[in-house]
Amino acid sequence: MKLVLSEEQRELREAVRGFLRTASPLPKVRDGYDPQVYARLNGELGLSGLIVPEEYGGAGAGLSELAVVLEETGAALLPGPFLATAFTALALTGTPDKELLTGIAEGRVAATLDQGELSFDGSAASGTLPRVLTGMEADVLVAPAPSGDGGDGGGKVLLAVELAGPGVRRTALEPLDLTRGLAEVVLEGAPARVLGPAPKTGVGDRLCVALAAEQLGVMRAALESIVAYAKVRVAFGRYIGSYQGVKHKLADMHGKLEQAESIVRYAAWAADESPGELPEAAALAQAYVGRACFEVARDHLLLHGGIGYTWEHDAHLFYKRAKADEVLLGPPRIHRARLAHLLEL
């Protein structure tokens, strides 16, 4: 088991952190998705190809490396389709589609993955997906459809649909989380391509781990923000961080962060090196980190006092991202139920 970053992973983290600090500072995230930043992220840092296998032009890295990157994009509240594209690449682990993966690796294609099932007539797909992650920003949608090979085996295939193509109607939604878009996507006979059979297991677990890595970044940045504020804000003649009422809460938040990081490292390692442990590790990651992230973001906002309640302050951006992330893969109880199942309780 590997819970400590390697030298290379630390370098990757520094590179991404440094890049985002200048290319996507917090004041900028309210402007939403910046395709130029996204292009540079993929171009200069090659992040779009990070987990794409080398044979498709990617770096062939694992979830451990992706987690390092997502922690930074999470900490920066980076808008845009990076997480959705990573989700898509993870979904293609079992059904590697050369065209799509090559496009992703080259940074040409932003993709998004939706679990909503489409209907498919062999060449065109139809259906309504009510909340597609970064659906306006993505170029390609990947979603499951019945395989159509008759039988009630319930086999499914993964389809790819060009979102800018015919038969697609997209409507931007106003999300709670201001820093990442959602869109309603209505397909009415949109040309669709079969990527292969939909993997029966493992994809959901990988999404859980990837999301937990983003949440780890969100909570780390939120904690850093309120710790910094507690060192400069004065009330009743002394720094608020010197009051145990604040200090002890921050110490508890730190404990959550330490445990969350440990779980994320473990789950990413399991995804890469010990697939047998992955399902339990993935459910643990969402069950623990999702909750811890929201609690830390909530307390970081509350401890800011009145200023943290204003629109101008960034605290609510973290708070809302944390809440949106907590339920992104469904109501959090599903992860606890899955744990109960996996533990054979």
């Binding site: 009330a235 309640y309 629109w311 101008e312 809302k320």
Partner: protein, 388 residues
């Protein structure tokens, strides 16, 4: 008139006069003022206030009877709440007769709207560390500085302003209270959006705004004691309202949630049970405080415990509701998205949870105070606000 008759009469009046909607948009202020004038003329504004200054001179009993009759209505009195709940009572308690004569009746009749100008960006929980200056200039004072978290300031005619008049004494001892004309061109009101995107309060900038000395409330440098009066009234009006609001419009209530979540799932049911338990526990505590008040047992600082619990419940219910409902609540227009976005407000307005815990610890449990470094140092030597 006995109490039952009083209440019946109030009910009848409200039936005839209460407006049917409660959204004072556009022409809302004019309509709110019309209603307030009618309310005053009918004798239902300032029920317990002294007759001499325009009140009715009645007792808490009549006020409660009216409040009970009004519970079925949403009256358009929002913009008058600061005046009625805080600044008006402060003037009645601490103003000069001339000030009471000039301000109280128009306030009660809704002719003039008031705001309260205490908090500053650098002085939140620690109001007394404020930096807005009022400097004497003959028979006037010249005000410069910035206030924040000011509700209804964009509609206000008058503001009750706490300003620093001496920086050479400890912070509590160099403050003075004034009534300031919000229409003076040196006053700039800028709406301040809260995290839910609504502009529910304002920032106010004062640029050489003159205030006549006869608009000073209380003695020079005795403003903190006046402010304590105001804050006491604020706390009373908050704790009076705590938990009394109907749950019928609350999308995070057990009643609302049970209609939209899967109650076949035992874990979902148990979350609703937990929410029910906490809601009932606080509601019963509030009812007990109300019964005690009626029996003459004044709740005092225990109201801060109720306020703290309400803040925690408000946060908890929005949190658990969004967890239960899941992704579909994550759109800005969803009632639960609004609930989770406004939930922190209850913990921040009227004192943070930390301040409430201090109050309960100090005044209810009688615990020893925190050592204070800020009570003796001259203000000009004191660390205040945000220090980078």
């Amino acid at each position: 008139m006995n109490l039952a008759d009083y209440r019946r009469a109030a009910g009848a009046w409200l039936r005839d006069n209460a407006p049917s909607d409660d959204h004072p948009e556009a022409d809302g202020i004019a309509r709110a003022k019309d209603f307030m004038a009618k309310l005053y003329d009918a004798g239902y504004s300032g029920i317990t206030w002294p007759e001499r200054w325009g009140g009715q001179g009645l007792t808490q009993a009549e006020e409660r009877a009216f409040a009970e009759a009004a519970r079925d209505y949403t009256l358009p009195t929002y913009v008058f709440m600061i005046g009625l709940g805080m600044t008006g009572p402060t003037l009645v308690d601490r103003g000069t007769d001339a000030q009471r004569e000039r301000f109280v009746r128009p306030l009660l009749r809704g002719e003039e709207i008031w705001c309260q100008l205490f908090s500053e960006p650098g002085a939140g929980s620690d109001v007394a560390s404020l930096q807005t200056r009022a400097e004497r200039d003959g028979d006037h004072w010249i005000v410069n500085g910035q206030k924040v978290w000011t509700s209804v300031a964009h509609h206000a005619d008058w503001g009750l302003l706490l300003a620093r008049t001496d920086v050479d004494v400890p912070k509590h001892k160099g403050l003075t209270m004034f009534v300031v004309d919000m229409h003076h061109p040196g006053v700039t009101v800028r709406p301040l959006k809260d995290m839910s995107g609504r502009a529910n309060f304002n920032e106010i900038f004062f640029d050489n705004v003159p205030v006549p000395d006869e608009h000073r409330v209380g003695e020079v440098n005795d403003g903190w004691s006046v402010a304590v009066t105001t804050l006491l009234h604020e706390r009373l009006s908050i704790s009076a309202g705590v938990g009394m609001g109907g749950q019928k419009d609350n999308p995070a209530s057990v009643e609302a949630l049970r209609r939209v979540v899967d109650t076949d799932d035992p874990l979902v049911r148990d979350e609703l049970v937990e929410l029910h338990i906490r809601t009932r526990a606080l509601a019963l505590f509030n009812q007990r405080l109300a019964q005690e008040t009626r029996a003459g047992i004044f709740p005092g600082a225990r109201g801060s415990a109720a306020k703290l619990l309400l803040a925690e419940l408000t946060q908890f219910e929005a949190d658990v509701a969004t967890r239960l409902v899941g992704p579909e609540a994550m759109l800005a227009g969803h009632p639960l998205a609004r609930a989770i976005s406004t939930a922190p407000g209850m913990a921040l307005g009227g004192g943070t949870n930390e301040i409430m815990r201090n109050i309960v610890g100090d005044r209810v449990l009688g615990l020893p105070p925190e050592p204070r470094v800020d009570k003796t140092v001259p203000f000009k030597d004191l660390k205040v606000g945000t220090q980078t």
